[in-house]
Symmetry: C2
Subunit: 154 residues, 2 copies
């Protein structure tokens, strides 16, 4: 009951853009990924990954004996979660807040839910807005297409 802080969005829909070739584990250990591997897997740059940790978006990544980051499966899942939140347009500051709540444990479930519900409303509003622009766009496209037909035919 303590490991499910991330809400199990197990879908490995990790965005493989910028990945070149198969990712082979660098430092043996089961699910221990070097930063470059995680960069390849997530599409985020190594710089960005370090920055995420620095600002408190990552819980605190394990280090190798030499001090290098070793990301675990758990970290990858969390990054996938962050990716989804980022897609909603959620500002980094809110994601940081959310990450903080996750670190604090189960007593923050309510606030986490509130954040997600607010986000849901914003996403719905944005979708409606975009739907509205679609109508305008299509009207205009039809206008230009019509103008083209008119100047060609007859």
């Amino acid at each position: 009951m303590t490991a499910i802080d991330t809400t199990p969005v197990k879908s490995p829909d990790v965005d493989r853009s910028a990945s070149a070739g198969p990712v082979r584990p660098r430092s043996g250990g089961r699910g221990r990924y070097a930063i470059s591997e995680v960069a390849a897997l997530t599409g985020l740059s190594a710089h960005t990954l370090r920055w995420y940790e620095q600002i408190g978006l990552m819980p605190e990544v394990e280090r190798s004996h030499a001090g290098q980051r070793r990301f675990g499966e758990h970290d990858l899942e969390w990054l996938a979660c962050l990716g989804k939140l980022r897609l909603t347009g959620m500002p980094i500051a809110v994601m940081v807040r959310f990450a903080e709540l996750v670190r604090r444990g189960e007593e923050t479930f309510d606030e986490r839910r509130e954040i997600l519900e607010r986000t849901r409303h914003e996403v719905l509003a944005r979708i409606a807005e975009l739907q509205g622009t679609l109508d305008v766009l299509e009207t205009k496209i039809d206008f230009y297409a019509g103008a083209r037909r008119a100047s060609e035919g007859a």
Copy 2:
């Protein structure tokens, strides 16, 4: 046939946010609006309106004898159009390009249509993306709501 460069999106869905009280015409002339009036009508700041003109987003606003801007109905329609394009998420640079094409006249209908079609695709993609995040969001919200019910009941 020369006045319809804007494509007549006549819907006066001008966003009246930030408008305080009724807008009374400042400098008499039929549909001649001062910058503050246009700001109130569109929700854009006077600074932003000047900046839009400066970067070539506005065709070139008329001036009073003293050099103050006097926006016409045509300008308002164009601003409404820009507002819609902005809602699509279109970058300013593309809007500037579009404005330039509008100034160049009817021979640019094709490129205008292309821009709008590209935009339409992007909007559709963005909507799909947001729909995807909605699913995740709802799953997580349900999880937290469920956890709350579990800790309260039984």
